[in-house]
Amino acid sequence: MKYVDEFRDGKVARNLAQSIAAEVQPERRYHLMEFCGGHTHAISRYGLRDLLPPEIRFIHGPGCPVCVLPIGRIDSAIELARDHGVILCSYGDTLRVPASERMSLLRAKAEGADIRMVYSSADALRIAREHPEREVVFFAIGFETTTPPTAVALRQARAEGLKNFSVFANHVLTPSAIQNILESPEVRELGTVPLDGFIGPSHVSTIIGSRPYEFFAEEFQKPVVIAGFEPLDVLQSVLMLVRQLNEGRAEVENQFSRAVTREGNLKAQAMVAEVFELRERFEWRGLGEVPYSALRIREAFRDFDAEVRFDLPYRSVPDHKACECGTILRGLKQPQDCKVFGTVCTPDNPLGSCMVSAEGACAAYYTYGQFKGAQPVAEAS
């Protein structure tokens, strides 16, 4: 696969790792937050931690839109399918997330609710066209990468005058989340969460550009390197961050220059702005209420807003008592710090969203086996 395989070259990876090892200042720690769940996944899947010197510490951020979706919103989605009899179209990731009363979309489906997995918002539109007699709701989630596809679907629905299609919008914003973390007392004042720099999200940045991060670098004096999706991209970005930190710089650098520009994808941004507006506040699992961090469908497209079409009272639901997703999402704890990690809470029986989503820190840790119990395997002769 072109533009993929070249960025997965093992030999180059080892050389990069050696350069990083040569340049880290001994006794210094480099706490790097990979905001994007895709990076968490890549670090685990390619065993990058094994290659890097111990001075590099990865902190997992809340860049997993499934992980930060509050239970109450999933309850609403289940309610739409179960009580309002709609065809609920959802991305695969959300189907297993545990909600209230030990329910999930998948369980609700098993109990008879018409819940269908889709790969694209276009699929949901197609289902609406094919079933004019049924209400079809698209359960939209995601950061800025996934929002434009929802915007396109809404514009199409309006252009076609579809009467039976609506969107349950849960799109959230990356800069708001980063700001929330940087402003949290643990990071800003107490220093209990040492945070030296950010590995910026790949695909969100293709849409929003590198400009929005300049504020963080400046205001909080933390370097940001926007990293591509492949393991070599991540390694190169780590090297760039180490250099910035060694040199005392706090800039925004763009390692993913093959897909990210300073301005981003203006066409996509315009389409999103046409369809969506900011919510004053939105609850994030683990972060609580974050102001101006999420999007709502605009007046002009109200007809296609599921929250307007259906009566969906929102009930905030706290996490399971033992669940540490909240602290893990904020980078305060690691999965192994959670008392139920790997015991009661496993991918088969997830208590919190960090374990359900493939991008979740806990799932990545568990699946790729980073937990302390794993003994290093002796080489067979």
Binding site: D9, N15, P65, T145, P148, V152, F229, A268
Partner: protein, 77 residues
């Protein structure tokens, strides 16, 4: 966070759609989010939509920078 993959545009279709190829697998995707997509372009595919074009010059520059580390990656096919 966002599973996306570079794909090659094989053919432009009606209604802002395009046929793309990755590793021999083909799919019809929506290209309305990216202006001026041409056959032969590489775009990044996410949830059935092209979200941006891939700049081949920049890609080569990045690979060259990686090459500086001493070992060249396999030449792109």
């Amino acid at each position: 966070m966002c599973l996306a993959i570079p794909v090659k545009v094989i053919e432009l279709l009606a209604a802002d759609q395009a046929l793309v190829d990755v590793g021999g697998v083909r799919k019809e995707v929506d290209v309305s989010l990216v202006d001026g997509v041409q056959t032969g372009d590489y775009v990044i595919l996410h949830v059935g939509f092209a979200i941006n074009r891939l700049d081949e010059t920049e890609a080569q520059k990045t690979l060259a920078m990686l090459r500086e580390m001493g070992v060249a990656p396999e030449a792109a096919a």
